[in-house]
Amino acid sequence: MAMDLETKLYQSAARTFEEVCFLLTLREPAPDKPPAAEREVGVRIGFDGIFHGALEITCPASIAEQLAQAMLGGEQPTAQQRQDAFGEISNVITGNLLPAIVGTELVFDVTAPAVLAGQEPLSWRPSARVRLRSDEGPIDLALYIEGYQPEPKT
């Protein structure tokens, strides 16, 4: 049975948070739209290849702070480092996710991660949405893909 997109997104994200930031997470049902109060920090990273799309990650500021601190070995991050850390995590998740979806032969160009605040919302519906629960609160991931035909489930 082909693994569905949400499972691939969940596995790529959970592994990244654990390996890069030592942050253990549990999967829980994703809301259709994350509550506004939880969308304090957000990043969007785009990709273009056999299909194109974007990954968006949002979480409370306290989690972004914790992630950056873990990546810096305990140092207090600056605002720029906090944003960069979150962007780097989105980069690693995307780097793990795309080969999980299409294999390792195809090449994708990945854009630089951008702060989500102030950007126009994407007009497409997310192809997959995952919520991870950490001690500090929820982390929401939304994967947008245009032009992708998933394998039919058997």
């Binding site: 990244t16 960069d84 850390a85 780097e88 690693v92 780097g95 795309l98 195809l106 090449v107 160009d109």
Partner: protein
């Protein structure tokens, strides 16, 4: 024998992580320079001797793949050791990078794996079974 290293990544946090890993992995370091993209890296390389460049792939202005091609196309830089540190998952692109004499280290990585890559690279033509190509050691420090 101290190694001058340049870390090229658009993420300040990633540059800090790579630099910290370099210090932890037991390599004797000289100067550690940083650049935020390929353009900045080439500007800095024009004035400073660097033994090893650790470069990301996805960067604004000039990405790591183009930077690698520019390095290999410049007689003053072509013998520089290069390790690409990236989330890149495409074996097609990784093969292209390796064909230009770069080694590849996938993010996330450990200081130990970085140290091993550097030691293998500097150790000459000892195959490690990874398909990475060893380059001859060159430059004023060797």
């Amino acid at each position: 024998m101290k190694l001058n290293v340049m870390v090229v990544d658009d993420s300040t946090v990633m540059r800090a992580m790579v630099t910290k890993s370099l210090k932890l992995c037991g390599i004797e370091l000289g100067e550690v320079l940083e650049a935020g993209n390929g353009v900045e890296a080439l500007e800095r390389l024009a004035g400073t001797w660097v033994d090893l460049a650790l470069i990301d792939v996805n960067m604004p202005k000039m990405n790591g793949e183009e930077l690698l091609y520019r390095i290999r196309g410049d007689v003053a830089l072509e013998s520089m050791h290069v390790i690409v540190i990236s989330t890149e998952g495409s074996e097609t692109r990784i093969s292209r990078l390796k064909s230009k004499g770069a080694r590849f280290l996938r993010k996330p990585f450990s200081p130990e794996s970085l140290g091993n890559q550097i030691r293998e690279m500097l150790g000459g033509n000892h195959g490690d079974g990874s398909g990475n190509q060893a380059l001859p050691v060159s430059g004023p420090h060797f």
